[in-house]
């Protein structure tokens, strides 16, 4: 049990250690430290070298994912900043970071001349860690860990920028960004479960059985190789009372991602045996050309006009393979079926956006903004691919038994989106600001598909099966969308001691689709699908400062909403509107800041969130004869977070700081495992750190911290728990 020592116990030890460390400082501190003594300096140019050394017991990859740093530790240059005035008008700035282990790097330099402009170039790279959890099934205590448990992705960017900015002249800028993301991360795609007691006949599951399900979780790893380059040239020029901005951008994307998953790992039944799948389904190359013109004109002391025009043209090419293994009863083997192999195709997009806005300030107490945005775009896409099927009577998966076919699908989308927006602000009441705004995004569009690969077709009253729509099938639907957002708020600075803020918001979004579909060989039918939601909420906060050094900030944010759908009558729906989802959230938070005069400060923060989404549960229940739990319950997202921070001045040259963090979520219900996958999130995180910062002379600051972290996660059966101490040491030297 000693290894599960809690963070609070460790806090006591840290405080004791802190006392020992501060004792020499206390002895050395002169009795008559002058008031307004020097603070720990903030250097203008400096280099900070640091090292972080955790000693973690438990799952090291979970630690890395949660804390964003590797369990093996890291060290190097945490921060480097240098600035120097080369002349009265020229300044050079350099910024850097190089933390080995964490793979966190930055190098940038900027040269600015007040009369000419600036040149800047830089490189940045940082790592994000993932824990490679493939899933856990509580009934059998089965934990699925990805084969590559310690996953990470690296984001890097190189940029260069040249700006010509002579006084009273137009400002020209050219900049280039080359952004790369590489590495591997886990996926939320994992399932499914199959009851091992079911009868398997010719590869198909027949009937059901009582619990004791076995999880056949499909852990999934994404491998990314993504490149994004942006070349942009801009000009900002004043012309009379107008400021004009012109910007031209060329944006290229070159991504080649793939996905690996193990389907039915550990399977012991004949049907769907274990198989590893590699999909390189997500290669994408695109080039976007964009030109933007914006103007801002002073039409007098009370009126400002803003306009914008933007045109974008995108062309893209896609590739890859999309593979799904299937079990053949006659061949008694797994083969790649229903695939989309050798994918080719792409899209073309033309997008025209314009907006115009008027800002009217008739008196200092009134501000009114009236704006309008129009977006018209056309997207044409095509996808060609190869499908593979095995003859139903085949007894082997020999190539001669496999049949391939080529398919081609098209889509054509048009959207005409208009968004009026109006906001009003009134400041005529002393210490009060009243405001309100409303915008309404109205879209009229059409969506058109030809020969979709897999579409729904009617097969018997009230039953829909998935089938391949044959050649020449045409699907068409009109989109009629209306998304209205509104809010009303007030800020009241009653006094220096009391501030109130309140805002009420409402979102009413309705999307209506009317279809006219023709499936070759089946017939034509109409369709209707209406999807919408209405949300209302309140944001309320109070800042109270009973004395200047003490403040209480309280926030309360309730919101609720319902989602609704109206089904397709032809496809078996009732045609009446049904509430498909309910969402309720209550958040209450409190922050206390206490900075008494002199040598101490304290901050504390608590947030309690109660949130759930309800859809099928409890309406959908399993047949009572199976005695199986419902496969889905409400999605609960409840959690509580608390943190505290205290700082002390120990002596003229020494500061101390103690920090605590506690977070808990409890949304995991393993009982669901009897009927489905229990996905709810539950965990408890605790950490405490205590640190000292000491100034040596005028140019050196040394900072040390000791901490203890503790995390438990029942959703993985405890397989990703970790705990242990953490040490941190940093030296900052003024340059």
């Amino acid at each position: 049990m000693s290894h599960t020592r809690s963070a609070s116990q460790f806090l006591a030890g840290l405080l004791g250690l802190g006392a020992l460390l501060t004792a020499p400082a206390l002895r050395a501190a002169p009795a008559d430290i002058p008031t307004q003594a020097d603070v720990i300096p903030t250097f203008e140019s400096y280099i900070k070298v640091s090292g972080r050394a955790p000693e973690i017991s438990g799952d090291s990859s979970a630690y890395a994912a949660r804390t964003g740093s590797p369990a093996a530790g890291s060290g190097g240059i945490e921060d480097f900043y240098y600035t120097k005035d080369l002349s009265d008008t020229t300044t050079v700035k350099a910024n850097g970071r190089a933390l080995g282990g964490a793979d966190d790097y930055l190098a940038s330099v900027n040269l600015t001349n007040a009369n000419l402009g600036s040149v800047e170039a830089g490189y940045k790279r940082f790592r994000t860690f993932y824990d490679g959890v493939g899933g856990f099934f509580p009934l059998t205590d089965q934990f699925q860990k990805l084969s590559y448990e310690q996953l990470h992705t690296d984001r890097s960017a190189f940029w260069a920028s040249v700006t010509l900015a002579k006084p009273d002249q137009p400002v020209f800028n050219i900049n280039f960004h080359d952004e790369i993301r590489t590495g591997q991360k886990d996926s939320s795609e994992w399932g499914s479960i199959v009851n091992p007691l079911v009868v398997v006949t010719k590869g198909a599951i027949v009937g059901t059985a009582l619990p004791a399900n076995t999880p056949f979780i499909a852990p999934n790893v994404l491998t990314m190789d993504e490149h994004h380059r942006i070349l942009e040239a801009s000009m900002v020029a004043p012309a009379g009372k107008t400021t004009e901005t012109l910007k031209v951008t060329v944006d290229t994307v070159n991504n080649d991602d793939s996905r690996d998953y193990v389907k039915y790992p550990g399977s012991t039944v004949t049907a769907d045996p274990t198989v590893t799948v590699h999909d390189d389904q997500e290669s994408r190359r695109s080039t976007t050309f964009r030109v933007l013109n914006q103007t801002e004109t002073e039409l007098g002391s009370h009126l400002t006009l803003e306009t914008g025009l933007r045109y974008s043209h995108l062309s893209s090419a896609n590739g890859g393979n999309w593979i799904t293994p299937s079990y053949s009863a006659t061949a008694n083997a797994v083969y790649a079926a229903a695939t989309a192999g050798n994918i080719y195709g792409g899209s073309k997009l033309d997008d025209y956006v314009g907006n115009v806005g008027l800002r009217f300030t008739p008196t200092p107490n009134w501000n009114a903004d009236l704006a309008f945005r129009e977006d018209s775009n056309v997207v044409s896409s095509r996808g060609g691919f190869m499908t593979t099927s095995l003859a139903s009577t085949a007894t082997t998966t020999a190539p001669s038994n496999l049949t391939t076919a080529n398919d081609l699908t098209y889509s054509h989308f048009t959207d005409h989106e208009a968004t009026p927006e109006f906001s009003l602000e009134y400041l005529g009441i002393d210490r009060v600001s009243l405001y309100g705004s409303i915008d309404d995004q109205i879209n009229r569009g059409s969506q058109h598909w030809v020969n979709p690969y897999a579409a729904t077709s009617i097969s018997g009253a009230g039953v829909v099966t998935t089938a391949t729509a044959p050649l020449s099938s045409v699907f068409f639907q009109q989109a009629n969308e209306d998304h209205e957002d509104a809010k009303l708020g007030a800020n009241w600075n009653e006094s220096k001691a009391l501030t109130f803020r309140a805002e009420v918001f409402r979102k009413d979004h309705q999307s209506r689709f009317i279809g006219a579909n023709a499936i070759a060989g089946t017939g034509s039918f109409g369709g209707l699908f209406v999807n919408g939601y209405t949300f209302t909420g309140l944001k309320l906060s109070v800042i109270a400062k009973p004395v200047a050094q003490l403040s209480f900030t309280t926030a309360y944010q309730p919101q609720s909403g319902n989602m609704s759908v109206t089904g397709n009558v032809v496809n078996g729906g009732t045609g009446s509107q049904v509430t498909s989802g309910k969402a309720r959230t209550q958040m209450i938070g409190e922050t206390v800041n206490w900075t008494p005069p002199g040598s101490f400060y304290a901050q504390a923060n608590v947030n309690v969130v109660y949130s759930y989404i309800q859809t099928a549960y409890p309406v959908v229940v399993v047949s009572s004869t199976t005695n199986i739990a419902t496969p889905i319950q409400n999605a609960n997202n409840n959690y509580t977070t608390a943190s505290a921070l205290c700082g002390f001045v120990i002596s003229k040259a020494t500061d101390a700081q103690i920090q605590g963090f506690w977070q808990r979520a409890d949304n995991y219900n393993p009982q669901i495992a009897a009927g489905g996958q229990p996905y709810g999130s539950s965990f408890k995180d605790e950490s405490v750190t205590a640190g000292l910062k000491h100034k040596f002379g005028d140019r050196t600051v040394v900072e040390g911290k000791l901490g203890y972290l503790h995390r438990v996660d029942p959703t993985t059966g405890g397989f990703t728990n970790y705990h242990g101490p953490l040490a941190y040491l940093a030296v900052t030297y003024s340059l």
Partner: protein
């Protein structure tokens, strides 16, 4: 467990006596100003926003249109302190000619934002979030704090979704079969970009995420989301719903859009 908890608490108290005393004595014997993270630079005083305009016209010229302009913080002596509401008192900054370290820079630390946005402090500390606390992503990377709507969208030229797609290019499309949720509502239909208890910052980790929209009716018969008993998506054991999320491997896995399949599945 209860006795264990009591023991740990008592240990804290007992050991705490030994360590709290020197700390308190130290605080009482030193009078240097202590500065909490994100708070004002010690000894700096308010100077008013007019001082800021001289060097930072790019940020101040449109601030009247910004969401944060509504805060209207004023000081009786210096008037409008709109800039200093977030950047802290600016006297040392102006006196030094704008030297680094003499004023709060929220781009380098989100502490300033958390002073009012309490809920965001909690969300970005959840297990699934952008690396904001690690300093790799800043609040201002996604929010315009000096001009216009801080959340973007509305009648602005750039749509709200463009904020996300600037970095997440693989999800940008266009697709032959786009997921309607992204077209109609954007990324936040399914993700909370500030943080979530769920993997990938999802609003829900299970099929509830999809069923909010893809559940036409429960009776009678099978419908868009599918719940008729005996149907492929029905609720019985062995049904699709019991097997995992809708986007599990082999099913509707290309959730952001597909180029080959209307049901965003193979």
């Amino acid at each position: 467990m209860n006795s264990s908890r009591r023991r740990s608490f008592s240990q804290l108290l007992i050991r705490g006596r030994a360590c709290w005393a020197p700390l308190l004595i130290a605080c009482l014997s030193a009078s240097r100003i202590a500065a909490a993270p994100g708070s004002a630079v010690p000894r700096a005083t308010y100077v008013g926003s007019k001082e800021c305009v001289q060097c930072h016209a790019d940020q101040t010229s449109h601030f009247a249109t910004a969401t944060h302009a509504r805060l209207r913080l004023t000081d009786a002596k210096v008037g409008d302190t709109g800039c200093e509401a977030c950047h802290g008192p600016g006297s040392l900054h102006t006196q030094s000619g704008g030297k680094a370290g003499t004023i709060i820079n929220p781009r380098r630390s989100p502490e300033t934002c958390f002073q009012c946005h309490l809920d965001k402090r909690a969300e970005v500390s959840l297990p699934h979030t952008h690396p904001i606390l690690a300093g790799q992503v800043s609040c201002v990377d996604c929010h315009d704090v000096h001009k216009g709507n801080a959340s973007r969208g509305g009648a602005a030229i750039a749509a709200q979704t463009e904020t996300c797609l600037r970095c997440h290019t693989q999800q940008a499309g266009p697709f032959t079969y786009p997921h309607g949720a992204i077209r109609e509502e954007g990324c936040t239909a399914c993700h909370n970009p500030h943080g979530s208890v769920n993997d990938k910052m999802l609003i829900a980790r299970d099929a509830n995420l999809c069923l909010r929209c893809h559940m036409a009716t429960l009776t009678p018969g099978f419908n868009i989301g599918g719940f008729k008993s005996g149907g492929a998506h029905a609720n019985a054991v062995g049904s699709r719903l019991s097997e995992g999320t809708c986007w599990s491997a082999g099913c509707h896995e290309d959730v952001h859009g597909s180029n080959v399949n209307a049901s965003i599945r193979p």
